[in-house]
Subunit: 355 residues, 2 copies
């Protein structure tokens, strides 16, 4: 049976990425060895790193003055690396969900943290908009897409201080005006690669301004200086990321990708709004195009388990909602085909007709 | 032409690991999805993590009270994580090479560092033995195998304070008396897996004794509590590590592995000592069984480049020595077949006969 992969992350990747990565593991570029068995500084691997960095910058249209890094440790390590490198006195955070809260918590070890706004009391079902960013903050941190709650900041914010964004779950889903950001970071395991590599886009002139001593591996300047090769980088995830970047470019880049993502999301949201059994959980204007959260309408609450089973039997994978929200979550990342969204919609219609 | 992979790391891996990893990337356990596309908390991946942890502990014969972790960031990140977690006032370090020096440098950000001994003045060609470990140190740090210089501490040291060992390049090459160590850590990309996962074996009762606040991701207790699943772990490298652990167990475990490693190393050292063109660079009693460093004898120095080319033509890969030592380095990690060592020896004999 055809599987429709709605996993929230690690999640669906392009077949192009999967097949090329498997090939490189068996025999890399016909050199008679696996990509896992060669030096990261070899003439075989170096072009992978160089090309991944260049294509990442090209697709995101990154202006001069920024550096793209591929690091280990996950976005969670960035939660402390950002304040290590930027927080001298005060930082501002927007609290839009579980991951935003975790990032904010970490910063408190390094200085004063101002929470400019929070949607916690509404179980993070919207993005706060009416807030002011302190102009004496060292930076302002946002989480652009809230995987668990299905909300998304899809507009590049104007910030009076350097804007730092965790884009783990919506990087490459749309064009971004990088010039409005100081740092963009994220785990790769949604729209880019398998887990194990973290991307960081950092504006170089923001660095070197804090008075603390930063451990070598946590200092962005270490990795900038060595072009992500200070120590052995996660070669397989980086190779896989390069394949996804090539796939994105072949597809037409981020404007095309965004159009496809909006189309997929609208198809599913339309069905959620139409179908009498279901309702969305996020405020309409803040709905994510990556993670679509919905629950049974109150009068059909007892059908939740049954629908879950019904959908699983039809090949839907990973649509159980996070325990913080309940119900269902369909993650519609870049590599999820429109056909899978249609299959889920058909499922919802069929289940409705059955009742 | 058959390639003989003497790379220093990332380096040769068992064919069993390579083939099973490629298979899991194409379709994991027949679930119709890649291992790269599923949740690390899924019923499909969780057993991989559990089994890798259990088999790691079984093969190293780890006693109760220790926890095995699989983390991101590389051994270089451990250089700061160790002092973050253990260094309250003073730490002792043995300086046996480039990586040992880097580990020591990092600790200085956290407290007083005592270098108990160093072989730097002899270009690290031996392991210092005549030193005393301060009994008031929080821990004593060693690097068991010095990849660049080809020296190795192959005996488990008795230390009056917790012993911390970077075993990046000789883990699983021999049985280890883990009870003599407080922490054993290392990057996986030599004897275990592709780059991207770092193993840490930590004695749990050593933790929680420092007065500083530790960032969440850098606190071993975070990862112990969540069994390496606090955030998304590097799934592909962990899966590959599990395959190598299975291969090791099938082979008969670490006593068998050690016997094979000693046999391979002796074959090559015997040829180096016999062949009039070459000489070893490390002191005989400290010679590594993982990285075998040798140079041309003084009167044949001008033949270095020619031998390098000759060997490359015969399929030898990665035998150029590190620039700090020059000459040649043949890394004979666990997965390197005896046949490859014999092929290199044949090469050396043939080149000698030609001259």
């Amino acid at each position: 049976m055809k599987k429709h992969n709605f996993n929230a992350g690690p999640s669906v990747l392009p077949q192009f990425t999967i097949e090329n990565t498997a090939k490189a593991i068996l025999d890399f570029n016909g050199i008679g060895m696996s990509i896992m068995e060669i030096s990261h500084r070899s003439k075989d691997f170096q072009p992978v790193m160089d090309e991944a960095e260049a294509l990442f910058a090209e697709l995101l249209d990154i202006p001069a003055g920024y550096k793209v890094l591929f690091l280990g440790g996950g976005a969670s390590l960035q939660f402390c690396m950002v304040p290590f490198n930027l927080l001298e006195k005060k930082a501002a955070y927007l609290n839009t969900g579980t991951w935003a809260s975790k990032a904010q918590k970490e910063a408190k070890l390094f200085g004063e943290v101002v929470e400019v706004a929070s949607s916690k009391s509404a179980n993070f079902n919207f993005i706060p908009k009416d807030y002011s960013i302190p102009t004496d903050a060292d930076y302002f941190h946002i989480t652009t897409n809230n995987t668990i709650f299905g909300t998304e900041i899809r507009k590049d914010i104007d910030s009076p201080v350097p804007l730092v964004a965790d884009m783990s779950s919506d990087i490459f889903s749309r064009p971004v005006d990088v010039s409005k950001y100081g740092i963009i970071y994220g785990g790769a395991q949604k729209n880019l690669a398998p887990a194990g590599v973290t991307f960081v886009v950092v504006k170089e002139d923001l660095l070197g301004k804090v008075s603390r001593q930063i451990p070598t591996m946590l200092d962005y300047r270490t990795h900038i200086k060595e072009s992500s090769m200070f120590n052995t980088p996660p070669v397989v995830p980086i190779y896989a990321a390069l394949q996804t970047l090539k796939w994105l470019k072949n597809l037409g880049g981020l404007k095309v990708m965004e159009k496809m993502n909006i189309e997929k999301a609208e198809m599913l949201y339309n069905e959620i709004d139409r179908n009498k059994l279901f309702k969305g959980t996020a405020e309409t204007e803040d709905r994510s195009i990556m993670n679509i959260c919905f629950v049974m309408n109150d009068e059909y609450k007892d059908l939740e388990e049954e629908f879950g089973k019904f959908a699983a039997e039809k090949g839907m994978v990973g649509i159980k909602g996070h325990r913080s929200v309940g119900g269902f979550r369909a993650s519609t990342y870049n590599a999820l085909p429109k056909e899978s969204v249609q299959a889920l919609i058909d499922c919802m219609k069929e289940f409705e007709a059955k009742r």
